[in-house]
């Protein structure tokens, strides 16, 4: 086996063998770029080293010696000796870049002897001594394990003694002293003299690189990121002839990107330092110059670099991140690798590279991560702003928002009308706060997690939300909040970042999302990024086979979803309509109705309201399917809680008590002190006021009403509401509700058809566990349909389907598909039932510990659990399609917008995913990527 390859003979595609750095050097050498001569000891050499009990096998050493001989021949220099001593750098490099691996050793081959020769040859004694002390310092630290601080201290002492401010102020004689001190430090620490033999230096450095592969930091890193031997198996060692960027003003060193990694613009982007070595750029002692300066200072080198850029991009078909050194006017390339870019740049370059003919559309689609795309969708805190958060909660709905704090929903609405931008601040939110959400740009709560009402609603609306910022004590009555020493009052400006959970005082500068602005139809906001986004989305739509729908409950949401590219509404939650501020009192009255007549009256009131909602949504989605889910949540969710009612009742009781005792008060006061009789008038007027209030509010009746409400709330109370009286169970016990919803939908459909539109409703039944439930609702649906059709003379088309969110529905999928024309997986509930985890409880109590200890890899409510929930889905799909081969199958849980889940849904043959409007573009990209990956995995048909 061959362990050592000269750059010109190595296969630069084989990163696993050569490591990333070695592969890059080999590839550049082959492309004819100016790489200093050198060679790579392969990762197989590393494996052999460990197999040999951490001893360098003789065979490898022999190959290294041979390679060094070739290097000497190529450079015309002798290794560490002679008139023109050959010096080398030794660098680690595995297939994946990995912190904790060994630093570069520069100037290897120097000794007292050769340093002198170098000084003589370069005519620069200071340069030679500086190179020597650098070699000693880094060799001792990384190859011999000597404490680096000892050298730093010695260097500081020397500078102090000679009055030098910077390292570069040290004179040659001062550096002579430094070298002596460094050698002494090495001797003391290692118990022997520094090796002067360059071969011994090389052997020590090589084994030190191999050893660093099993160092603690490297091992921890691999364990944490689960990097297995199939991704990186050992480190290579790269030995390169030294070139010097610090040989005077015509020398330089620099790093660059072939395109701007911040904006993606196709301009050469980087910086350099004259007369410096690589580490000086990193150290940041001198300020590097922008690469454009190089065009003025060394125009031929700059031109050569532009040529390199072109060659590298043509070759790699990817933006490159390079290192170079200029030695006395001659350019040397020291590294190249694919550039890391931010989301903007990744997007822009993806489209540019396609248009430049460098990559295919498929490659462009795979090149940008769906979560990068997400970054583009939300406004963020301006990264340039230097400001500290005063509190931190959970990042519940991404994006940053800034506005005036407001402590209740009504006030939010009032202020919003005055044109204020607001952040709604609550301990926690409830359905009745919903108008406050509409009025605000963001929501901040001090209680509840990512699954709380605030979080779920905010995500659905695409509004920024920070939840459970527990350090903030909110006093809604006093209209102020306190966190440590920070206090803010209603009307004070605050900024929240729903992507990080940070909360800031005052107005922090934000960066808006160009993409969203453009998507929302604001043509004036079109930019290179938003145009690139549009192109990419177009390619994604061409590539994907999986449909992408949105979850939307209002005409506004539906319109937004459509602009974001949704092919339909996969989940229209009718209960959100029940929660609207004008509906809730009617809904409550319906639930509290003591007789069927009263209930029927309330339901009749709701019908026109729901019809109007449905009309708006169907119109917004004209021509596209709208999947209407019949009422799902348990009725008690629409009522106040026992605690709230008890509190209200006790207040009312206290009030009655005071009013009652007020009559006795004068007598009591007189008894204590007759002189106080003067104040009787005050008591009298107060008594009159209260009596008036009492009359007006008829508090006794109010109390009675509250009592009957309380009784109903107690009656509806459930031990496990997640598994309770909801969904179709509710529909069957209170058929009048489902009937009204179906009627409202069909009346809306009929009116739209009559107005010349093309509504495409679908009806979906939640919480189904047995086919009989579905049959039951289906019968009701057909009755109402027949009636509406007969009355209107209009024919209604409306597929009838079921949610699959109960485990038993998966087991009975074959039977359900006899009735259901489509399935829609509700993976939120399905995951809860599959794990027997109550999301709210689990996330608060044990899930963090579970993911921390890796008992679960991920929170299954964030990342779809493919092994458990996914398996159930596969079973349901198989059995469902056995009955009805053309069964349309979707997913409408929150996972629908999560990239891994989208890929899984593509693989198992779903028809569509449905997610919140803001995640539609992400899902479109993820679906396209899944399709491209599947295609590339498929064998090429034999006819081609």
């Amino acid at each position: 086996m061959k362990y050592v390859y000269m750059f010109e003979e190595a296969d630069g595609k084989n990163k696993m063998l050569l490591g990333g750095k070695g592969a890059g050097l080999a590839e550049m050498t082959r492309l004819g770029l100016p790489v200093p001569p050198g060679f790579t000891v392969t990762t197989q050499g590393c494996t052999a080293y460990y197999s040999n009990g951490r001893k360098l096998p003789d065979a490898i050493w022999e190959e290294i010696r041979t390679a060094m001989a070739a290097l000497e021949k190529k450079t015309g220099k002798a290794f560490g000796r002679g008139r023109n001593p050959l010096l080398v750098s030794v660098r680690s490099g595995s297939a994946l870049s990995m912190p904790g691996m060994m630093d570069t050793i520069l100037n290897l081959g120097l000794s007292d002897e050769s340093a002198k020769t170098l000084a003589r040859e370069t005519g620069d004694e200071r340069f030679a001594l500086d190179a020597y002390r650098r070699f000693i310092q880094i060799f001792c630290k990384v190859a011999l394990g000597v404490d680096g601080d000892l050298f730093e201290k010695a260097l500081a002492t020397a500078k102090a003694e000679s009055g030098a401010k910077l390292d570069s102020d040290l004179t040659a004689s001062a550096l002579t002293g430094v070298v002596a001190r460094f050698k002494e430090i090495a001797r003391k620490a290692t118990g022997r003299d520094l090796p002067v033999d360059p071969w011994e230096q090389l052997r020590v450095a090589t084994t030190a690189v191999f050893d660093s592969w099993e160092g603690k930091r490297a091992r921890d890193y691999r364990a944490h990121f689960k990097i297995g031997p199939d991704q990186a198996n050992g480190t290579a060692v790269n030995v390169v002839a030294m070139v010097f960027g610090n040989l005077g003003e015509r020398s330089a060193t620099g790093v660059a990107f072939t395109r701007d990694p911040g904006s993606g613009e196709n301009t050469f982007y980087g910086e350099y330092l004259n007369n410096a070595q690589g580490e000086d750029v990193v150290a940041g002692i001198r300020t590097p110059l922008p690469i454009a300066e190089l065009a003025r200072e060394m125009s031929s080198v700059h031109a050569e670099l532009l040529d390199v850029k072109k060659k590298l991009e043509s070759h790699y078909r990817e933006v490159q991140d390079i290192e170079f050194t200029v030695e006395r006017g001659k350019l040397y390339m020291l590294q190249t690798r694919n550039a890391k870019m931010n989301a903007h740049a990744a997007l822009v370059t993806s489209v540019d590279l396609v248009e430049e003919g460098l990559i295919s559309k498929e490659r462009a689609l795979l090149r940008i991560g769906p979560s990068d795309l997400e970054q583009l969708m939300y406004p963020g805190i301006d990264p340039k702003a230097k400001i500290q958060p005063f509190a931190k909660g959970m990042p519940a709905s991404p994006g940053a928002a800034c506005g005036r704090a407001v402590f209740d929903a009504d006030e939010a609405v009032r202020r919003a009308k005055l044109g204020e931008k607001l952040v709604l601040v609550r301990e926690e939110t409830k359905p009745e706060d919903i108008h406050g959400f509409f009025a605000s740009v963001g929501i901040l709560t001090s209680r509840g997690g990512k699954t709380s009402h605030a979080a779920v609603v905010a995500r659905g609306m695409g509004k920024s939300c920070v939840c459970g910022a527990e350090s903030i004590r909110i006093d809604a009555k006093e209209r102020r909040a306190v966190a440590g020493e920070t206090v803010f009052r209603e009307g004070d400006r605050i900024t929240i970042d729903g992507s990080t959970g940070n909360v800031y005082l005052g107005e922090v500068p934000l960066v808006a999302s160009e993409v969203v602005q453009a998507l929302q139809g604001d043509r004036t906001q079109e930019t290179k990024v938003s145009r690139a986004f549009a192109r990419l989305m177009q390619w994604a739509d061409e590539a994907r086979t999986l449909g992408v729908y949105a979850n939307a409950d209002t005409p506004e949401d539906a319109a937004r979803a459509r602009r974001f590219g949704a092919g339909g509404i996969g989940l229209c939650r009718t209960e959100r309509m029940f929660n609207a501020v004008d509906r809730l009192p009617i809904v409550r009255a319906m639930i509290l109705a003591s007789d069927p007549k009263e209930r029927a009256a309330r339901i009749a009131e709701l019908l026109p309201l729901q019809k109007a909602d449905f009309k708006g949504i169907l119109k917004a989605m004209n021509g596209l399917p709208v999947t209407v889910r019949l009422l799902d949540p348990p009725l008690h969710e629409f009522l106040p809680s026992v605690e709230e009612l008890l509190h209200e009742m006790s207040t009312l009781q206290d009030f009655s008590e005071i009013v009652r005792h007020l009559d006795e008060l004068p007598e009591m006061v007189r008894l204590v002190d007759p002189k106080l009789g003067e104040q009787m008038t005050a008591i009298d007027s107060m008594r009159r006021l209260l009596a008036e209030v009492k009359n007006r509010h008829q508090d006794e009746k109010l109390l009675q009403r509250k009592e009957s409400e309380l009784a109903r709330v107690r009656q509806l109370h459930e031990v496990n509401p997640m598994l309770g009286h909801r969904g179709v169970r509710l529909g069957i016990t209170y058929p009048e509700i489902y009937e009204m919803q179906i009627r409202a939908l069909y009346q809306a459909v009929v009116e739209l058809i009559q107005e010349g539109h093309s509504p495409r409703p679908e009806i979906m039944v939640p919480q189904v566990c047995t086919a009989k439930e579905l049959e039951w609702v289906h019968r009701l649906e057909r009755e109402v349909k027949a009636e509406v059709e007969a009355t209107s003379g209009v024919k209604i088309e409306c597929p009838f389907g079921t949610m699959i969110e109960v485990v038993r529905a998966c087991m009975r999928a074959g039977k359900l598909a006899e009735i259901a024309e489509f399935f829609s997986f509700g993976t939120n509930d399905l995951s809860q039932a599959t794990f027997s985890f109550s999301r709210e409880d689990a996330e608060a109590k044990f899930l963090p510990l579970y993911t921390e200890r890796k008992i679960l890899q991920d929170n299954p409510f964030e990342i779809l659990d493919v092994k458990g929930v996914g398996r159930l889905m596969e079973i349901a799909i198989e059995w469902g399609r056995k009955t009805r081969p053309d069964l349309k199958i979707g997913i409408c849980g929150e996972h629908g917008g999560q990239p891994q889940a989208v890929e899984f849904c593509h693989e198992i043959g779903l028809t569509y995913v449905s997610c919140s409007p803001f995640r539609v573009p992400i899902a479109r990209l993820a679906a396209a990527q899944a399709a491209v990956r599947t295609k590339s995995k498929q064998p090429v048909p034999s006819s081609i």
Copy 2:
């Protein structure tokens, strides 16, 4: 196709063709028993009738005429005419006996003409007229659909007019009038004269029988009991030559069982009436005589009947239920069918028939229903007692119990020590009431359902329990309860019937279970029944392949389980040990511990207690496996509720308030009226008393403690406790608890081994959803085991397994089986998760409606849902055994003792079922039946 068979030519085995009645008559004819001649029109005739548009096909009529001709020849009479007119009865008869089918028409063939001939021939005009009026009455009613009341009224009028008390008091001339009136009624109702042509009568009667098959009552009955065409497809028509039991004193009619259907004794059992027709026996106007009388009155007939009994039992190998008529000394058999018997008789005859060589042991096992066996296990209300319940609740744990009412657990213990039998009466029970359960013979609650604490614990203990008797208002403080007008106080005797839910005032006579007394080792109580039971159980154990274990949490339960035939403990719930009255304070202190040291101390206190429990149970089950489930319920279940704590705190606060204000009281009193100063002494002494109490109880500290308890309870509160922080999730977050439990178990095992016993512990982990959880506990278990083994020098054998009660565990069964050596299905929780039903909520809110409307066939918590939950079980078994082919698999949910579930568990290859000790015999029988059925379904090996 042939539609009509004479009795002697029909195949009496073919009930589907001939109906039950026809088949019996054919079979008896072939056996040479004295059956009047006759024939059967087959059920295929019925089908042909319907296919022909409800018209009797000519072919059938022709066959009927041919058969009638044969009948005429056989009897030497002419049908409805001539000197000796042939009369027949026409009876319906399908494969299954079915209410709503047509009644028998007797004396068909009579007319004015033939009635006269009959009078002359028999020399009994009264008899002939009575026969005639009976014919008219029943023919009109059942074949022509005339309102039967019209005839009853006319008959009553005739009796009144002639001064007759009984029908039989009517003279011939009175009957002549009755016949005239009846004919008039028929004419008025049908618009024409009664058919006098016997052939027309026969044709009308035949089609009426066929029509009755599709009558409303028959259809409803078939729909309700889901009787499909494979069980009964149409009715047959039986036409039999009339014989008369009412032709004087040497005539009689009777019904009999070949053995006593109440006790199973092998004695001929029945009753008869002299000079009567069949309907007179049923009508109950005259009191029939016991069959033994017949031996005296007509000894040859009695002897002939005994011969018939012998022949029938030898032939049918089953106890028979027969009808017979004696006409002038000659016996005729009119019907035979398998007898319905009560549980005692079914058991005794099963064993007797085997011992008499009439049936096989397999047949004996199939002959008795597991629920019949259940009847034998519990004491019941004496059926002879004439007493009305004053309230009704849910039948939560079967059996009746009588004792003095007691309103709290402590009082129950106190009184039990005095030797009283007690019924614990509570609104609802809690874990801390558990000592009250032990002290009582039954439990009555006014709240909660079949799944409430009281119900579950009572079932586990086999104590009678009635739950949720909501009409009873219980005032525990006043120690009395009121239901309507009924009041009972502590110490008053009440009786509850946990099999029906009835509650009675006073001591109602009970019938003890002979079986249980014998099983519990009381040899003096051995009876024929208990001996038969023991035999049957022995055969069951020989036949079954499925193991039967018991769920038991105490040494007493374990001992009982063993006596009841359990092969091991399939579920030993360690939390029941935490709930014992001496443990609960320690458990609470552990949960409330503010630091780990305090918690460790409390856990250390629990260890010896758990060890002692384990020792007792393992010793009771010496040599048999005991499956110990580690702690399962959420911690908050061991703490008082928020409501309780708030109430306690408010009481304490009120108390402090009073004490505080007491100082001011004298001043206040003096202010109002100085003369009241006299009463100051009273106030003073009260103040001293309260100050003393205050000191003693240090109420402030108590309040603080309650406050911190409340905080912890609130912290532990869960939205959906069923899906909450419990089972292995608890074990992982508080590893010290599981560690203590495992250590206690292993120390117990070591001590038992050292004492020469053979403990066989198994450890089972609850609520597992991923293999990592199991790995985690397994590591803990191996550590503790190694430590205990090292300390003691004793080697411990203990299989390690998992509950399968989370859906995801089913999906991951293959992976779990890598660690788990056994599975145990927890179908209670698994059913909840599969349906997304919270049992407590569902049973209170919508399950009754669901089963009523047949949306679900059964309550899945009572009857295992084979299609959903069962499917998951099958998947888990398949995947689990793929990994580990010898995987031991059991079930320990409440379904484990439910016969259908036992059969299903046998079919899907479970190793054992585990149920409450009292259900062990039922499960043993059910398992045997399943094995026998499987065997009989298997094809006979070809070598036989």
